[in-house]
Amino acid sequence: MSEKFLRDEKYKNNINTRVDHHFGDIEKGFKEADYTREETFIGNHVYQAPMEPHASIANIEGDGTILLYSSTQVPHYLHYQLARVFERPLGTIRVVRPHVGGGFGGKAEAAPTDYISICLAMKTGKPVMVQYSRKDMFEHFRGRHKQYITYKIGVKKDGRITAVKSTIYLDGGAYSSFGVISAYYAGSMLATLYKIPNYKYDGYRLYTNKPACGAMRGHGCPQPRFAFESLLTMIAEDLGIDPIKIREINAMDPNTRTVNDLDIRSCELKATLTAVRKKSEWNRKYGKLKPGHGIGIGCGGFVSGAGYPIYRSKFPHSNAIIRITEDGHAAIVEIAAAEIGQGSETVLAQMAAEGLGIPLERIRMKSWDSDISPIDLGAYSSRITLMGGNAVSRAGRDVVEKILPYAAKELEISAEDLVAENGVIRHKSDKKKFMAWSEAARMYFSENGPLVGTGSYSPPEGLGGTYKGAPVGTSPAYSFGASVCEVSVDLETGKVSIEKFTDYHDCGTPINPMAVHGQVEGAIVMGAGETIMEDTVFDDHGRIVNPNLHEYLVMTSKDVPEIFSGLVDSYEPEGPFGAKEVGEGATLPVLGAIAHAIANATGVWVKELPITPEKILKALDEKRKKDEKTSKPKCGCD
């Protein structure tokens, strides 16, 4: 590459982010270690590939308001960005988010389609639609950074981790996008899963002549997690420790502050390991399968919502208004939480219903229009269940507080002894004393006018440490999970068949178990694809060779393994009704589990993603050559 190429004077050597974190004392940690091992791993440029392309429709309304329909995950950040770019008050712009056909992080910022459609609408005075082609989507990218990762882990004889040193170079493409945060996440999230007393992270995000990389499901973490889980398993096998056992030995405990100042509240990682060992029949299979068949373990977890917003602001992260129809029957729940196919409308409606004490079918969600619904920061960092859920359930309880006095008067019972549940307001212990919920709501309306409740959620104040970059990785709560993968590998062609996944997740108390399992299944399929087949390939000039779904290989239904998704008992005090995230966290154990299963089947570790048949054959060849050398009788020895 030419010296002049894409050189930005502001960023020496094209390093756009440099992270230099040191917690504890790694020198001391490695001294205490009985065994250390260092390995380098290489990731891939994985693209989100949502089915729906980015699309925007803009129109300038009669009063001059900009009306924008956009397939976005983050209506508020889009809104805020438009106000800044077009230099006008937020209130003169209206953002509508229709149902979005998938995002996975690729629609987590304002896209050129948004700006261009607005500019052209201004010029022409007509509605303008701009939509990406599949090729445009790949070129816009914002997919995963390709990471070059070196880990050194020190452990005691029994497998306890004493120190971890991490050096990561992130190939970030031509612009920043979310890349600064990605570079921090790649380091910070490592510390949530296992107790690591001493930890050093050197991160470098590099500008290159490729499309910009950004946030994608598991933001910055899946590749480091793949590398770390692989190395931890290698170490366990070097020391003759069962790979699940080494995880149990190091597993995070609840109510712990990590070495990098992240506060873990609920944590059932150990329970997921116990459950996954039993359900997958690990003890019967591990080490006992025929050549070409393998079993592997991986763990992972993620934030349940970022502790801090993307731009400095003090307002709550999720805000909800619930308006009860005048007859007291329906509840209109207004919160601008982005439904992008993940099912947030369903769980928010469930939690609003629970907060209100009325049946789910009486809830109507209004989440798509900035003119109607108050701010929610968006569908990113696995935040909506916890943050949006707290906001809507609080708004529901606010409504109940307002109508209880009317019920108390009618039933002649003290309001403190009343409870709203399933469409009635009744005595806490005497179920015969009750009245219709709608009747109490009507009484309120007759006397006061509109019955409205509000609720909002802000993460606890002061999350995280005080060092530079400390906010990244903070969260009100963390998820945990363990996955066991079973594969068969054709040792002649290198073809991998992922046969079975057994996953247990700690998502707190699930609001909707079916939706949780759906997320886990999707995460496994997506994670498996990026482990064994997905990669955006560039030619020598940085142009994408495969900007289409024919040559960029995502898994098809014929590649999907049998999946068991299980849940462990857990309750998160900071979450609504005890809930935490599942959407991103479930992706994280997948890569390491598959890499281990392949190593277990073949006897070789492939440390570069994706683990293709060709790479497996190459690794097998190298092993064969090495074995031949070492098996040759040496003269004069012994």
Partner: protein, 296 residues
């Protein structure tokens, strides 16, 4: 997405289609299932003004068995090919090949005639058709002709078909009972993926020895390639693992693969060896004249 600037002509019959192609010359192209052509038009990889639509022509989508000859109409869909009882019984390798292709939606649209006429180097049907000695029956304004499929492909996306010549039917003699045919494909995912390498192999066994063999390699040369030396190496040999593995080794040297996004040259060469051996093993397993053992 609409394709701008094209005129569609619905052909009433094959003769009509040929004369339309003759009339519009180089600005015209015939459309059967459209699974290649429509994509090419949308991506602007191909530009044609006149599209002659063959889909409405009756009687060209039938699979028949007459006097020991399989007759497959050019408009027979890949899905029909995959599911046909006649094909499954008499030439299972062809239904295997069809069923590995693309996706259910594309298999419902794509046709055998289109797959052969487009002459894409990685196409799945030609290797099997060549190993089975298929004949291509064509129509054109100057008349009908029979082309042995071995003479049909001249380069990537190039065939001996004239500008106004269309495939009517593909004929295959039903393989004798002492023969077997198999197609093995390596693809990077289990659906919607092109062959990295495809190998068709046929065997005829007489008195416990191989009397005829044909190994055809797909996706490793500008056209489907008959591995002549590998095929010859089998003549007179006992149909066993050793002979098949040896043929695989020879076939590796005969392929002329390139490196591309699906795999390197070296990887493809290696696959040729493995798939050739496996295709031969399966073909051998399909031979029906082996003396039946009595059940105990």
């Amino acid at each position: 997405m609409k394709i701008p600037g094209i005129k569609l002509h619905n052909a009433a019959d094959l003769a009509n289609a040929c004369s339309l192609l003759e009339k519009y010359g180089e600005s015209a192209k015939a459309l059967a299932g459209g699974t290649d052509l429509v994509v090419d038009l949308k991506q602007k990889r191909a530009v044609f003004e006149h599209i002659v639509v063959l889909g409405g022509i009756a009687g060209l989508d039938e699979i028949k068995l007459r006097k020991g000859i399989l007759q497959i109409g050019a408009l027979t869909s890949l899905a029909s090919l995959a599911e046909s009882r006649i094909i499954k019984k008499h030439l299972p390798a062809l239904s295997d090949a069809a069923s590995t292709m693309a996706t259910p939606q594309v298999r419902n649209m794509g046709t055998i005639g289109g797959n052969v006429a487009m002459a894409v180097p990685s196409a799945d049907l030609p290797p099997t058709l060549i190993a089975a000695n298929a004949r291509i029956i064509t129509d054109s304004p100057t008349g009908s002709r029979i082309i042995p499929i071995r003479e049909f492909f001249t380069g990537p996306r190039k065939t001996v078909l004239g500008a106004a010549e269309l495939i009517r039917e593909i004929e295959i003699d039903v393989p004798p009972a002492n023969s077997g045919l198999s197609y093995k494909k390596f693809q990077l995912r289990n659906s919607a993926a092109l062959a990295v390498v495809g190998v068709a192999a046929s065997l005829v066994v007489e008195d416990g020895k191989i009397s005829d063999a044909c190994i055809v390699l797909g996706a490793v040369a500008p056209t489907p390639l008959i591995a002549v030396k590998a095929s010859r190496s089998l003549i007179g040999a006992k149909p066993d693992f050793e002979a098949f593995a040896n043929a695989g080794k020879i076939a590796c040297e005969e392929g002329k693969p390139i490196s591309d996004i699906r795999g390197s040259k070296e990887f493809r060469c290696r696959l040729i060896g493995v798939l050739t051996r496996r295709a031969l093993e399966e073909a051998n397993g399909r031979i029906r004249t082996a003396p039946k053992r009595r059940k105990n």
